[in-house]
């Protein structure tokens, strides 16, 4: 007898909260700055030291363990092998880069004390001396060369952010040159990213492929233990060259369920929550046992037009739709105030940012005027029509790839229905949609997409989203927007080593794109982290993956 096996119901459903994965693959952003004058190129300089966050009058206490709950484990602690914020939060406490992208998005000296441009395609960095890695070896030019070369190699997940960099050359023990492929203005931004953290060559040698599980850097904390999908522990490194951390150790726990992360904070099992439940943020703001840290983030979410498809190949129709869409209720109600209206196609803080919101300020009357100019008349059914054809558009959106992506697309659909345009909205699986944006082309008039300028210098966004060369199947320009003037500005900006000038050149390109109404920009993300009130000296960074804890302490 082999048993009369009855029906066995299955109880486990293979689904889980989408928020858990929301950020997993969201490629992080790092910021850049349009702050002029901080870095005049071509001259050796010693910029101001990074400032610790503003302190209260209280004297910081040393010691204690900070417990952080987050939705997802790091992929790897090798800075060239993890482009998610889940890895960045931890790695940026273990590793340091040549330059530091400070809280105000300006660049500060870090492992490099000063730097200069010695030729159009060559920058020289003078390293801080006496810095040691956690394994006791010295930080020197050779370590920098190795770190730079592995960050730009094809094995690096971050290689695409460093396309302008050719390699590094050791000048002497504490001087290193980074060589670029012709004039490359964004170089300083590139070396400040955490992908280009300086890693211990001895540890690389020792651990090989498993370096990502045994990270050794120069930062204020050193790696202790990693229990997969459970906890990662780091502890203060007392051999640190700068201000030593206050905390004894930091434990990062994985708690996938967002409501459980909030409960962990309330029961005291955790001191800090990464990616909190947005619906509960307001409630925690009112509770003085907690502190809600928030700052505007670096991602913009928008609807892109395929500008080659009629009827949206008419710029007036695209402009009209921009003016006819009131973003405020969307941000207040759907995003519950946890986002900001988009004021450009990139976020404030990225080199090239300029407020362009005048090109999509809500103005229904102007929108109607533009529609009439484009030859449309409003029928008795309330829809705009031309030659007896009702204006109907197809729109693709993912669900759960970006915060409330499908919901805002639905809100847009409703707003356009009211304005007189019919939108057929289709929610597509992300893989399918990604393939359309980048390979087969967008076979709809509209598509929802989010974008972070990862190197914090807009040449990246302009080159990837808006250049003739990146139209599918060669890139992300699903809008199929091709304007030689924009391409020319992008190239000119990229070659300019002066950050202020570069930013102005990029801003011109964005203004052209905004006038051409290639997108319907919707919102700019906010970064939100909640801590217990006992956590002091903490400051949130605009970049979603930077979470420095050097000056954080516990008052308990």
């Amino acid at each position: 007898m082999t048993g009369d096996r009855g029906q066995t119901p299955r109880y486990r459903v293979s689904g889980l909260s989408r928020r858990e994965f929301l950020r997993r693959s969201l490629l992080l952003g790092i910021g850049g700055s349009a702050l002029p004058g901080l870095l005049a190129a071509c001259a050796p300089q010693a910029a101001p030291q990074p400032q610790p966050p503003a302190q209260t009058s209280q004297q910081p206490k040393r010691g204690g363990t900070l417990t952080i709950v987050r939705p997802i484990d790091a992929v790897s602690l090798d800075p060239t092998n993890d482009t998610t914020s889940a890895g960045g939060w931890i790695a940026t406490n273990i590793f340091e880069s040549l330059l530091k992208l400070d809280y105000d998005m300006s660049l500060k000296p870090w492992l490099a004390e000063r730097w200069e441009q010695v030729a159009p395609d060559r920058w020289r960095f003078y390293l801080k001396q006496g810095v040691k890695f956690h394994d006791g070896t010295d930080l020197n030019a050779e370590a920098v060369k190795i770190s730079v070369e592995r960050a730009i190699s094809p094995q690096s997940r971050a290689a695409s952010f460093f396309r302008g960099i050719k390699g590094a050359e050791v000048r002497d023990n504490y001087t290193v040159d980074i060589v670029t492929d012709g004039p490359y203005g964004p170089l300083l931004r590139a070396v400040s990213t955490w992908f280009m953290s300086i890693v211990s060559p001895a540890a690389l040698q020792k651990y090989g492929q498993d370096f990502g599980r045994n990270p050794v850097g120069t930062g204020p904390f050193k790696f202790v233990e990693w229990r997969t999908n459970a906890t990662i522990t780091i502890e203060r490194w007392d051999g640190y060259w700068g201000d030593k951390a206050y905390l004894d150790r930091v434990i990062y726990k994985v708690v996938p369920e967002e409501s459980n992360r909030m409960l962990a904070l309330q029961t005291g099992e955790a001191d800090m929550v990464m990616i909190p439940a947005l619906a509960q943020v307001a409630q925690f703001k009112r509770d003085n046992r907690f502190v809600v840290h928030e700052v505007d983030g670096l991602r913009v979410v928008f609807f892109g037009f395929n500008v080659n498809r009629p009827p949206v190949n008419d710029v007036r129709v695209r402009q009209a739709m921009n003016y006819a869409f009131d973003r405020k209720p969307v941000i207040d109600n759907i995003l519950e105030g946890n986002a900001l209206p988009a004021t450009s196609l990139i976020s404030p803080g990225i080199v090239g940012y300029k407020d362009l919101s005048q090109y999509w300020a809500y103005d229904p009357r102007k929108a109607e005027e533009l529609m009439r100019q484009a030859g449309y008349t409003k029928g008795s059914d309330g829809f705009w029509a031309k030659d007896g054809q009702r204006l109907t558009l197809k729109h693709y959106s993912p669900r759960g790839r970006y915060p409330k992506d499908a919901e805002i697309s639905e809100a847009f659909q409703a707003a356009m229905r009211q304005f007189g345009i019919q939108i057929d909205l289709q929610i597509l699986e992300w893989g399918t949609l990604l393939n359309k944006y980048t390979r087969t082309g967008l076979d709809a008039e509209l598509g929802t997409l989010g974008w972070t300028d990862v190197p914090a210098d807009a040449h990246y966004t302009l080159g990837s989203l808006f250049s003739c060369a990146s139209i599918p199947p060669n890139g992300f320009n699903g809008m199929e927007y091709c304007n030689p003037a924009v391409d020319e500005l992008t190239a000119r900006g990229r070659a300019n080593p002066d950050e202020a000038q570069r930013g102005q050149i990029y801003a011109q390109a964005f203004e052209t794109i905004a006038k051409d109404a290639v997108l319907v920009p919707v919102y700019n993300t906010k970064e939100i982290i909640i801590t217990s009130a006992a956590v002091k000296g903490y400051r949130i960074h605009k970049s979603e993956y930077l979470d420095w804890l050097q000056y954080t302490w516990l008052d308990k």
């Binding site: 048993g3 909260s17 994965f21 693959s25 695409s160 952010f161 999908n229 994985v254 962990a264 099992e269």
Partner: protein
């Protein structure tokens, strides 16, 4: 017995081979370009080409399949795309946690399921039976996701008796094990009850009672053992499923097991890792079923595998 084992081992092998084939096939079936999805928005052309080659997508399906089996036989399940660690190491991290949780849950299911089922069958339609049946119905009907959150709220947040999630101490095991066991307890209890009621009507039970044996002896010594065959079947199937990782329970309680890992692998499109996990699932299931078959013979000496 030997021939039976051999036959079962061979069928199991075929099942495993078939499953690996389907997993290999997935790469060709999913919408979009898997390489592009894995690498995301920032991949360079070199990276795309390198990964395409690494995944073997530049080679025909059959070649990929045979190659995978060849490597798996030497213990090489490939390298995770996501973490770049060996798949074997990733699975080895999560597997003990899943085994611990599944064993705890199935133990609860056996003890409480059979216990409650027996109590229920003793006085059919009595108030105790009625209570157990209601409980079983609740256990089967309440979604794990919801009951897990309720437990966390009551025991973790309100009473503060147990941690709300995580792993590492015995206290951490309590809530996920109980949550995961609930449907199994309910199912085993119902199965035990109905099977026992059937057996209690048999002639030999009447004979035992006629001999003047005490009711507990009749129940435990004569009836229960015979009633257990279908129950063991259910327990085996349940255990096989639990070993496949309890995705919802592991998610709700932040338990670092295979269930969490498989979801991560799916979302990251980490195919080598996914293949490795599915292989482990399949083998666990096959082994548990084999053990169940052997348990029949132990429970009922009339069953032989000639």
């Amino acid at each position: 017995m030997g021939r039976f084992l051999l036959r079962r081992a061979l069928t199991s092998l075929l099942v495993a081979l078939g499953i690996v084939f389907f997993v290999t096939l997935i790469l060709d079936l999913i919408p979009g370009d898997p390489v592009l999805i894995i690498l995301g928005q920032n991949a360079t052309a070199e990276q795309v080409a390198a990964l395409r080659h690494e995944l073997g997508l530049d080679r025909p399906l059959v070649v990929r399949y045979v190659d995978y089996i060849g490597r798996a036989l030497t213990g090489d399940l490939g390298r995770s795309i996501m973490t770049k660690r060996s798949v074997a190491a990733e699975v080895a991290d999560a597997w003990p946690n899943t085994l611990l949780l599944a064993s705890a849950a199935i133990t609860l299911a056996v003890v409480f399921g059979i216990g409650l089922g027996a109590v229920s069958a003793l006085r059919p339609n009595g108030w105790l039976d009625f209570g157990v049946r209601i409980l079983a119905l609740l256990g089967l009907s309440m979604p794990i996701f919801w009951i897990g959150l309720v437990f966390i709220y009551i025991f973790g947040f309100y009473l503060r008796l147990l941690p709300i999630g995580g792993s590492g101490t015995p206290q951490h095991l309590v809530l996920p094990a109980v949550t995961l066991a609930l449907p199994s307890v309910a199912l085993v209890a119902r199965m035990t009850r109905s099977s026992l009621l059937e057996v209690l009507g048999e002639d030999y039970v009447r004979t035992a009672r006629a001999k003047g044996l005490a009711e507990p002896v009749v129940l435990l010594g004569h009836a229960l053992r015979n009633a257990l065959i279908p129950v063991v079947t259910v327990i085996g199937l349940q255990f096989g499923q639990l070993l496949g990782g309890a995705i919802l329970t592991e998610t709700v309680f932040a338990w670092p097991g295979l269930g969490r890992l498989v979801v991560l692998a799916i979302f990251a499109r980490d195919y080598p890792l996914l293949q490795g996990i599915v292989l482990i699932f399949a083998l666990s299931y096959v082994v548990v079923n084999l053990v169940v078959d052997l348990a029949y013979a132990w429970l009922d000496p009339r069953i032989t595998y000639a």
